[in-house]
């Protein structure tokens, strides 16, 4: 029994079969990477998981509960946090405020009118927000406007915003896309650091093989909308079907 179970998911856009009977079983505590060449259906699959798209058939169960048809905020309240390809943060707000918002959402739920409480008097929330920034090494940037941060720091902040909610599952959509090698390595170190201190299941959608093999405990390979192989990293490395699917992509 995995924490995330995907069964027979199909999705068709007009004449294109974007997802073809996809099955996925993510074990609790694992770092499960989903790889595949461009256009393999990785993003479609992710969007089906988080409620942005509704698959034509199939079921997705998270922690024993069906999630299909639920809205993004409902899925988050179940314990799924998401990191986007380009960091989605509150650019106009300070780093501190950025981290406090998910704290409030985690404690108070999807909606609460607390118009006469004071943000700055909420010791519990402040403490939590400060702790996570300390842990992520961003405490000295607390008062900065988050839009002015560097790309790497924006990513770091986004991850902090997810972690402060203590999610059961963290979805990462190409967390290092468009990053320089140094930033990529920083992100890998950060994710490994998270893995050491917190037991969070992670699903990583990734293109960069260097990232995948540095992080993943299990790898599934998606090609033309179907899972063609699944296994431990060393098994996948030598898999003939995978080599075929990636033919011409030098990194494997």
């Amino acid at each position: 029994m995995g924490i995330l179970e995907v069964q027979n998911v199909n999705k068709r856009f007009g004449g294109l079969q974007a997802l073809n009977n996809v099955n996925l079983d993510v074990a609790e505590g694992s770092v499960h990477a989903l790889i595949g060449p461009n256009g393999a259906g990785k993003s479609t699959f992710l969007n089906c998981l988080i409620g942005k798209l509704k698959p034509d058939t199939g079921s997705v169960q998270f922690d024993g509960q069906p999630v299909l048809g639920k809205k993004p905020h409902e899925i988050n309240q179940l314990g799924v946090a998401r990191v986007f390809q380009t960091p989605e943060i509150f650019m106009d707000l300070t780093v501190f405020e950025n981290v406090m918002i998910p704290c409030f959402a985690h404690r108070d739920g999807a909606f609460k009118i607390n118009a006469f409480a004071r943000v700055l008097r909420d010791k519990e929330i402040r403490q939590k927000a400060e702790d996570i920034l300390e842990d992520m090494g961003m405490k000295e940037k607390m008062a900065a406007q988050s839009g002015s941060l560097s790309r790497g720091d924006k990513r770091r902040l986004e991850i902090a915003m997810c972690l402060v909610q203590e999610p059961k599952l963290l979805l990462l959509d190409e967390p290092t896309a468009g990053m320089a090698r140094a930033d990529t390595n920083n992100t890998i170190d950060l994710l490994n650091h998270i893995g050491e201190t917190r037991k969070i299941t992670k699903v990583i959608i990734e293109h960069d093989m260097h990232v995948v093999f540095s992080l993943a405990t299990t790898i599934s390979v998606l090609a033309q909308g179907a899972i063609i192989a699944e296994g431990l990293p060393e098994e996948i490395k030598g898999h003939p079907k995978v080599r075929e699917a990636y033919l011409g992509e030098a990194e494997v």
Binding site: H73, E88, D92, A105, D108, I113, A117, L120
Partner: protein, 384 residues
């Protein structure tokens, strides 16, 4: 630190509002009627800023709630009592219900579609008030008090006189103190002070909302709604709550307008009124605490003072110059004053939007920084 600064701001604001009849005396704006309007439109703008300034949802329909507030208040004067308290209460409640209805429909969309929906719904309310709802609104004539109104609580008034609105006996139009200070004839009026207390209360509520977790969520909606949804927050009820709150402020403002002058007409619901409050908030500084009030004062001042300057007044101003020059100046300036005050306002509005996107508050901040040299100090700190 923020809490301290807010308290100081509230104290300064309170003193400023209470001393307004004295402060505005040199500007020629210190007569009760205009001061009341400053305060009432200040409330309207403060409420609008909670929706527009915090969430970024631009509504063109808030005039409808102002109108609903006025009609409710006048009905209360006709049926129950000339005391303004029950009237204001009904104004706020009715406007809140109306806002819930209109907000529920319009907030199904965002951006320009939301704005258009609010505009359409408000115009529909305006047309309804003019035509179908005539039994309730008295159509084009407007809703007025009559001698034969039932007025359950205080029907026994002197024969032949319309009773005046009051707060437990304090009459709104009464000038209770009329001293002469520095040659200025000051008028302290109950109506203004009732509006002023409401304005201070509104300002305090607005500060609390700005600093609350609720306010933080509203600001988050403005910056990145996608992230907020994926953070587990349902943004729809937040925007609806902000819409209803701002609608209730508009209702309070409408009720106060009717309390100062007990009649209500459909023209108060017209979209130009809803557009004016947008101008006030943008001009003063959207998303700032004090900005909306400054914007409201600015625009109402222009509307009432600038519009009264005519050629004769101008000739008086320029009379010290040689005739040809004075005539020339009068010709140049006169299209921009008097009935043309809107031209000046429009030009000023453009200047503010282009050069001071943060509004008057932004301008004041820049000047302060120039004076104190904070800019230079910050730059120095960065270099070190």
């Amino acid at each position: 630190m923020t809490l301290m600064r807010d308290r100081t701001l509230l104290i300064i604001f309170t003193l400023f509002v209470l001393a307004a009849p004295l402060i505005f005396a040199p500007t020629g704006a210190a007569y009760p009627d205009l001061l009341q309007r400053f305060a009432i439109y200040g409330i309207f703008a403060i409420g609008f800023n909670i929706l527009f300034g915090l969430t970024g949802y631009l509504s063109f329909g808030h005039a409808a709630f102002l109108g609903v507030g006025s009609y409710s208040a006048v009905w209360m004067f006709k049926l129950l009592s000339m005391n303004i308290l029950p009237a204001l209460l009904l104004s706020v409640v009715m406007a809140g219900i109306f806002a819930l209805l209109i907000g529920y429909i319009s907030l199904r969309r965002s951006g320009i579609y939301f704005s258009i929906l609010t505009l359409a719904l408000a115009q529909m309310s305006y047309v309804l008030a003019y035509s179908v709802l005539t039994p309730l609104t008295n159509g084009e004539t407007g809703l007025q008090l009559r001698l034969d109104d039932p007025r359950i609580l205080d029907a026994a008034g002197p024969e032949g006189f319309l009773p005046s609105t009051n707060l437990f006996g304090l009459e709104m139009k009464e000038v209770f103190w009329n001293p002469t200070v520095f040659g200025y004839d000051l008028q302290f009026n109950w109506g203004y002070y009732v509006s002023a207390v409401m304005l201070i209360l509104s300002f305090w509520i607005s500060i609390r909302i700005f600093r609350s977790p609720f306010g933080l969520m509203l600001r988050a909606i403005k910056t990145n709604q996608t992230r907020l949804n994926y953070t587990g927050v349902n943004s729809r009820p937040y925007t609806l709550a902000a819409f209803v709150i701002s609608g209730m402020f508009a209702g309070l403002a409408g009720g106060l307008l009717a309390s100062m002058d007990p009649l209500a007409g459909a023209e108060r619901m017209q979209w130009t009124v809803g557009g004016e409050v947008v101008l006030m908030v943008v001009l003063g500084g959207m998303g700032t605490l004090i900005g909306p009030v400054l914007g409201a004062i600015f625009i109402k001042y222009f509307e009432n003072i600038f519009s009264k300057i005519n050629e004769v007044v101008l000739q008086g101003w320029f009379s010290f110059l040689p005739d040809w020059l004075s005539n020339f100046l009068v010709t140049i300036v006169s299209p921009f004053v008097g009935r043309g005050w809107g031209l000046t306002l429009g030009a000023l509005f453009m200047i503010v939007v282009i050069f001071l996107p943060g509004g008057l508050v932004d301008g004041a901040r820049r000047i302060m920084r120039k004076i104190t040299g904070a800019d230079r100090r910050a730059a120095k700190a960065r270099n070190e």
